[in-house]
């Protein structure tokens, strides 16, 4: 009798041992009226340990607001002063063995101390491995055992309408999970970052979510939550995340070189719209229209010509020029890519090895703080070489000094410049005012930077 009972319990034990992993694979153990309901809890239990809170503190220079009295009584106080700050953000563990934590650059910018708090309460001081301001990615490292990393998904395979789950530390409420769907892919032109290729989602993202994880229903990382649009600063259902593939490219470069070495094709162009397609009798709906190919660039070596339409990178379609620019820049120097090109009614693929970008394009503030918010690119117009201002954020210092999109810088302090490196050399050796000689349309104008 006793014997029989213990046998049954042993059988039950083995059954339940077998049962446990099988049920967790089904992922939906809750049933109502015989119908199982979807729940994200089993997936979340596995991956929330991979999301961390990041507390930063430091001091940064802040410009003192001009006091009207200064006009009358001189200016006894310095214009800028150091101010202590502290901030909160989120991060994602992407390599458990090495302790790599990826977050947004704007979370840890200017920070002197970064404290990473794990879900189980352990706290570690983090070391910065590298960061990239223009794409807003930073890589930190913590020395900790038994970490859980979040697996990466292929973000190129996402479709609008797929579910997305955001995990982060909004308003300091650690490990908050919100859900939504993917509202759009390949968003750019928002002027939040230098290089934009965002996933848009309606999962609620708020202050403190920055740097946190956006995952799919399998618990794989599809993006790093980065920004929101909203008049009041709160969530209105429009959030943006850096796709995991782009993040991976940047992080790989940071690990290898300690910095991001941007890739470049050496072309200038514009998004293909219906009007341009009709005028040029092109049979494609979207892509990047090539207007100019620089000499000795990766694009010219690969045989890309002005008038081509670049429609895909490594097989994934691109919607416009901004997306191409962001993808190329973040893929990194020396990377081999396959571009799908539409020419004369036919689609062909060309292989390109990307140039380093430093030579051909630059973010404005790499040259001078007054150029912040502008991007520069080597160009050639009517046979004259110069540096073109390709984009200007209308609220940036670059716009305030009077730079406009399409300007071509021909001179700096009356010296002829043909490339960004020429410009950089002159500006580095100049103290005080800088005068730019700029070709704007058919006019020549001067821009003074004090």
């Amino acid at each position: 009798m006793k014997m029989k009972l213990s046998l049954i319990s042993a059988a039950m034990l083995s059954a339940s041992l077998l049962l446990t992993p099988a049920v967790s694979m089904a992922k939906m153990p809750i049933a109502v009226n015989g119908q199982q309901l979807p729940t994200l809890a089993p997936m979340l239990e596995q991956i929330t340990p991979g999301v961390v809170s990041i507390q930063v503190s430091g001091s940064k220079e802040v410009r003192r607001r001009a006091d009207p009295l200064d006009f009358f009584f001189g200016n006894p106080q310095p214009r800028s002063q150091k101010r202590e700050f502290s901030g909160l953000g989120s991060g994602v563990i992407i390599d458990a063995k090495e302790g790599y934590v990826v977050t947004n650059n704007h979370v840890i910018q200017d920070a002197e101390k970064m404290l990473v708090t794990l879900e189980d309460g352990r706290e570690y001081e983090a070391k910065k491995i590298g960061s990239d301001k223009e794409s807003d990615i930073a890589l930190l490292k913590i020395d900790a055992e038994d970490l859980v990393a979040v697996k990466l998904a292929n973000s190129d395979q996402l479709r609008v309408g797929d579910f997305a789950v955001a995990i982060g530390n909004p308003f300091g409420l650690s490990h908050t999970v919100t859900s939504g769907i993917i509202s759009a892919m390949g968003r750019s032109g928002l002027n939040i970052e230098g290089y934009e290729d965002f996933i848009q989602t309606d999962a609620a993202i708020n202050q403190g979510n920055s740097g946190g994880a956006l995952v799919n229903l399998n618990g794989e990382l599809i993006g790093i939550n980065t920004a929101i649009l909203g008049a009041s600063g709160g969530n209105v259902g429009i959030g943006f995340a850096i796709p995991s593939n782009m993040m991976k490219n940047l992080v790989d470069q940071i690990i290898e070189h300690g910095e991001v070495r941007r890739g470049s094709l050496g072309i200038s162009g514009r998004p293909l719209d219906a009007g341009l397609a009709k005028a040029q009798q092109l049979d494609v709906k979207q892509g990047a229209y090539v207007m100019q190919v620089m000499d000795d660039s990766a694009a010219s070596e690969a045989g890309i010509k002005a008038g081509d339409v670049i429609i895909s990178i490594d097989g994934s379609e691109i919607s416009g020029f901004h997306e191409l620019r962001s993808k190329i820049a973040t893929l990194g120097e020396g990377r081999k890519v396959k571009l799908g090109i539409y020419r004369d009614g036919k689609v062909q693929t060309v292989k390109v090895t990307l140039d380093g970008a430093s030579a051909l394009t630059a973010a404005g503030d790499e040259l001078h703080p007054a150029f912040q918010g502008a991007t520069l690119e080597n160009t050639q117009k009517n046979g004259n070489k110069g540096v073109e201002v390709t984009t200007v954020d209308p609220r940036s210092p670059a716009a305030r000094v009077g730079l406009e999109e399409g300007d071509v810088v021909m001179q700096v302090n009356r010296q002829r410049v043909e490339t960004i490196s020429d410009m950089n050399k002159i500006i580095e050796n100049t103290k005080g005012n800088i005068v730019l000689g700029v070709q704007r349309g058919r006019e020549s104008v001067f821009v003074l930077i004090q």
Partner: protein, 332 residues
């Protein structure tokens, strides 16, 4: 072996977590949602230069030959309307067929054939809890899909007209979403997204949004195609629902037996027919007054110029009165 140990309730394929996505619904519906840019040119004589103001909205393609529903408030100031399709085509010769201020709907027409029409399921009736997707172009970001559920149906007290019965939902919409599509998880049209809840105190309220249900939008659209405007009957009285003992009904459970007249428009159709305050209307056009909303629809759908028979109680006597329907004037 292990498979037999799995819980034997099979997962519906649509609910399986690996396939849980609205991508197919989006693919069905998204091409039929257009961006509408309404341009107004200010004619202020003080300014020498003409000032052009552009407003942004969304619209839904209702027929392959170019009928597009949008919100009235998207195009109400416009001198020129532009329609942008998702495939990049743009149309400037947009005709305004008509509009209805009460439901805030407007019907546009572009002269193009073979447009992608929004999927419609006549069998679908929205229920609280249904998953919905809002498709539109908020803040001119480009087409955006947001997700939520239907929070309530038949919301009437949001606008000041009883003829507008809205769906409440929590799918986020923003400026520019107005006039866009609200679809269900199959991609079928549920309504036209229209409004966001805002208080006078400028409280930051999120998660309360409204849409005009498809059935109402369809009714309005059909009338706009036929007459160019929406004609509603007007009788000129307001009333409160009462039960069979004459007591006011304030909940949803007590059966309604009639409407007590509380206010009469002086010189209005009801007043002219001799109806007085405190009368209790029990039958309109032969139908018992048991559902105030239904009564309202009978009045709204009655044709101006026709006569309707009223049966009412006054001083414990039953009277029959004929009332000549007037047309409801709408404020612009």
């Amino acid at each position: 072996m292990r498979a037999t140990l799995l819980p034997n309730v099979p997962l519906p394929s649509a609910m399986s977590i690996d396939h849980l996505s609205f991508a197919d619904a989006v693919q069905r519906a998204a091409p039929s949602v257009v961006t509408i840019i309404s341009e107004s040119i200010s004619k202020e004589p003080r300014y020498k230069r003409q000032n052009t103001v552009q407003e942004l909205g969304s619209g839904v393609i209702m027929s392959s030959d170019g009928y597009i529903l949008t919100n009235y408030h998207v195009i109400n100031n416009s001198d020129q309307i532009m329609v942008l399709l998702t495939d990049g085509r743009r149309y400037f010769d947009v005709q305004l067929i008509g509009f209805d201020t009460i439901t805030d709907l407007a019907l546009l027409k572009i002269n193009v054939e073979h447009l992608p029409v929004i999927p419609i399921s006549e069998r679908f009736s929205p229920r609280v809890g249904d998953v919905v997707l809002a498709i539109g172009n908020p803040l001119n970001l480009g087409q955006t899909i947001t997700q939520g559920i239907i929070s309530a149906t038949g919301k009437q007290k949001i606008t000041d007209s009883p003829y507008n019965s809205l769906l409440q939902m929590d799918a986020a919409i923003n400026v520019g979403n107005s006039g866009g599509a609200l679809v269900n998880s199959n991609g079928d049209l549920v309504g036209i997204t229209s409004a966001q809840f805002k208080t006078r105190e400028n409280l930051d309220i999120q998660g309360i949004f409204f849409a005009v249900p498809y059935s109402l939008a369809k009714e309005v659209m059909d009338k706009l195609i036929r007459h160019g405007r929406v004609v509603r009957g007007y009788l000129g009285f307001t009333g409160t629902a009462v039960d069979s003992t004459g007591k006011e009904v304030s909940d949803n459970y007590t059966p309604v037996a009639g409407l007590r007249i509380t206010n009469l428009d002086p010189l209005g159709p009801a007043w002219q027919a001799g109806i007085k305050e405190q009368d209790i209307v029990v039958k309109i056009a032969g139908e018992n007054v048991t559902n105030p909303q239904k009564t309202l629809n009978i009045i709204g759908n009655s044709e101006p110029g026709h006569e309707i028979e009223f049966e009412l109680y006054r001083n414990a006597k039953v009277l029959k009165v004929m009332v000549k329907v007037a047309e409801l004037e709408t404020k612009l």
